[in-house]
């Protein structure tokens, strides 16, 4: 049995396969009946131990488009403070003959723990500051569709990289697809001891002209004051894509954001609907990528890596 816990679970062949299947599902999503029976009779459990609207909705809809049943488990965080109870929940689900689970959890490593039980395929829907592999896949795929190739393209990831599971999965995937990654943010919110292939900048203005993709991360409001940041105004002056910066932006740049956007913090409202923004496309591809991942995990004997010719 195979899982999607980390982007490292996928080799390049897997990534290409996910992308090619996603392309097919894009077409399905444009049909009058936006549904195929590929996973009829299967059940996907949505195990969200941390609030999430986007990812959960996206997975749920993706499953339904594949005729896969879904069940949502609302488990309060308090009852799942210990690893054993998470395992108990998983075993209960397994007894109920659930075929696959998406896990969102506030603690890093939760999805891996669940996967290690090998009860059913586990998809990491975001674990603490750890990873968010399907987000990385959909981001890369959306950008790839727009730019045709990512080889040699310059991707700047802007914001609170330190606390971002999206960035952690993304850095690896962007790099693997041939893009050059630069992390942009206050040094208080950038990871230290980075791999050599990652560049760092402390000012958005330094990288704007040279970036093909500007990927903005969501900044947690609670971090704006305190020991990491110096308030909204200072942050915006350094890192926000404001109306003014938008005026000086390259015509062919691509603007991305994993959502939900903090309007008026990392992006001005004008930016979201700018023609260079592909934020809405990201949401759309979220569905097709998650449909592809579910199909691969649930329909294949052996899942990834062991795809019959």
């Amino acid at each position: 049995m195979k899982h999607l816990v980390s982007i490292l679970d996928l080799n390049n062949k897997d990534v290409n396969k996910i992308f090619s299947i996603a392309k097919h599902f894009e077409e399905v999503l444009e049909r009058r009946v936006k549904k195929v029976p590929a996973l009829i009779g299967k059940t996907l459990a949505l195990l969200f131990i941390e609030p999430s609207t986007r990812t959960k909705t996206s997975f749920e809809l993706a499953a339904r488009r594949l005729s896969c049943d879904t069940i949502s488990l609302s488990v309060s965080t308090s009852s799942l403070k210990k690893g054993e109870t998470l395992e108990d929940t998983a075993r209960t689900l397994s007894s109920m003959k659930v075929d696959c689970a998406v896990v969102r959890h506030p603690h890093e490593g939760a999805a891996k723990k669940l996967a290690s039980l090998n009860l059913f395929p586990v998809i990491n829907g975001g674990d603490g500051k750890g990873e968010h592999p399907t987000q990385a896949l959909l981001d890369a795929y959306t950008a790839l569709k727009k730019l045709k190739s990512l080889n040699g393209k310059k991707v700047s990831i802007i914001g609170d990289v330190l606390h971002s599971r999206v960035a952690r999965s993304g850095i690896e995937l962007w790099h693997r697809l041939g893009a050059k990654v630069t992390l942009v943010g206050p040094p208080t919110l950038l990871p230290r001891h980075l791999p050599e292939y990652v560049d760092v900048s402390y000012r958005l203005d330094e990288v704007m002209k040279n970036s093909d993709i500007l990927y903005f991360l969501r900044i947690q409001r609670e971090r704006l004051g305190g020991e990491c940041l110096a308030g909204i105004e200072d942050y915006r002056d350094l890192y926000a894509l404001t109306k003014d910066r938008l005026k000086n932006l390259r015509r062919d740049v691509v603007i991305m954001h994993p959502g939900p956007v903090n309007r008026g913090i990392e992006l001005d409202p004008e930016v979201i609907y700018d023609e260079r923004s592909i934020i809405e496309e990201q949401v759309f591809e979220g569905l097709s990528i998650r449909m592809a991942v579910l199909t691969l995990l649930l329909s294949e004997k052996g899942g990834f890596h062991e795809i019959p010719a």
Binding site: P186, P187, A230
Partner: protein
């Protein structure tokens, strides 16, 4: 306007000059530096008993505006700094309210006094409102004109916040000026723990209160790569730490004040509040270590820590009087008389610690005396001595622990931004303005 400085001893480590030369200044620029210049259109200034040096910079002064204008204002502070021979003065943000927003920084940076006297360069607070809890808007303040960041007067107690501040400061490339004092070790009495505390019975501040924070911040500076400058070092332990850090190649710099170089705890035994400073005047051994570090180059900068107070406050009981002394107008003669005259340091070193190194700490272009440079000059008279008379200070604070000291090396002429702004006790620009000529 043309000026001709005649027969001064020109000391400029940048151009390697140290000889009797004339300097011709035209339209603010140095146009010739050589022997025997004559130019009848130029206003001749006799410098035959003078030393002509690149303009001096004070990295550490409290100008009290806004909020405590009864102690000092930007106007009187900039004037006192100019009279003390300085062309630039960096003012600390412990005002009321503190210089913690870009708005206030801009107000200070654009002060009118800067165009009449010594140019005032503001420092923004490191932590928001100097509360030691959150990061202040360093980037916006830097854009508004802050040249450095400091919580001077207090010390960042949390190592976590200090590390964050160092990291965040990298967005601005500006240095952090650190007042180092662990409040868990310091009773903040401004009495050295040693002879002074023993004799007076006042609880003393041990040298370790400073040194442990220096040690911590050397480690953090090394880790983060931030530009750290230690303010007013007072103890031999701190010097040892600094010396080792520099040997290791860690990018830290440090300043020492004239009063810590000249005075010791012996002066505080009498509990005369005029000698109350923070950090406290320490032992003779400490003073000797500071002097040695000054000679050796471990100390980079002399800074005044000019901290004016009203007579009412400063003449209360030692315990109740605020720490700090007005130092802008005595720093240069003190250093000249006690160190250059006594041949402990030479003139080139004097220029280094007062002009070249402060400019480097700020990351600014150093001043030099050569053709094509704008005139930023500090010219001192070394032939005539004068007694320190605080009543004649241009600072609002008319008090000094050096009252009655007979000193050499008083400023004679000072050129700021190409203009002759100080001329033997007169302020030509101020006079012109008051006469309505501009």
């Amino acid at each position: 306007m043309k000026y001709l400085l005649k027969k001064g001893t020109v000391v400029c480590p940048i151009t390697c000059k140290e000889s009797e030369l004339d300097v011709l200044i035209d339209n603010g620029m140095i146009v010739r530096v050589e022997k025997g210049i004559s130019d009848k259109k130029a206003l001749a200034l006799d410098a035959s008993q003078c030393i002509v040096m690149p303009g001096f910079i004070d990295l550490h002064a409290h100008l009290r505006e806004p909020g405590e204008e009864e102690k000092e204002t930007l106007y009187t502070g900039a004037k006192a700094a100019l009279a003390g021979g300085f062309v630039r003065v960096v003012c600390m943000p412990n005002t009321e309210p503190p210089l913690s927003t870009s708005f206030l920084i801009k107000a200070v940076a654009q002060s009118d006094a800067s165009s009449l006297f010594c140019r005032v360069l503001p420092t923004g607070s490191l932590s928001k409102n100097r509360e030691g809890k959150e990061i202040a808007e360093l980037n916006l303040m830097a854009k508004a004109g802050a040249v450095a960041f400091s919580d001077d007067g207090s010390s960042i107690q949390s190592a976590g916040l200090m590390r964050s501040l160092m990291l965040y400061s990298l967005t601005t490339k500006k240095p952090l000026f650190l007042h180092e004092e662990d409040v868990n070790l310091s009773p903040q009495t401004c009495i050295h723990e040693g002879k002074a505390s023993f004799v007076t019975g006042v609880e003393g501040t041990p040298s370790s209160a400073e040194a442990v924070m220096i040690a911590r911040d050397i480690l953090l500076a090394e880790e983060t790569g931030a530009r750290v400058h230690f303010q007013h070092l007072s103890s031999k332990e701190s010097i040892t730490l600094l010396r080792n850090a520099k040997k290791k190649g860690i990018q830290v710099t440090a300043e020492v004040t004239p009063h810590h170089l000249v005075l010791t705890e012996d002066e505080t035994v009498s509990l005369n509040p005029l000698f109350k400073v923070n950090p406290p005047l320490r032992s003779t051994e400490d003073r000797n270590a500071l002097e040695e570090a000054l000679v050796e180059g471990v100390i980079d900068v002399i800074a005044t820590d000019h901290a004016p107070h009203t007579k009412e406050e400063k003449t209360r009981e030692f315990e109740l009087a605020p720490p700090g002394i007005a130092g802008l107008e005595t720093a240069l003669p003190l250093l000249y008389t006690y160190f250059v005259e006594k041949k402990i340091i030479d003139l080139r070193r004097l220029v280094e610690v007062f002009s070249i190194n402060p400019a480097k700490v700020l990351g600014k272009k150093v001043f030099a005396i050569r053709e094509g440079e704008r005139a930023e000059l500090t010219v001192i008279n070394t032939a005539e001595s004068r007694k320190v008379n605080p009543e004649k200070f241009f600072s609002k604070s008319k008090l000094s622990p050096f009252q009655g000291f007979e000193l050499y090396g008083w400023p004679e002429y000072v050129f700021v931004e190409g203009e002759l702004r100080f001329l033997k006790g007169d302020f030509p620009l101020e006079e012109r303005r008051s006469k309505g000529v501009d």
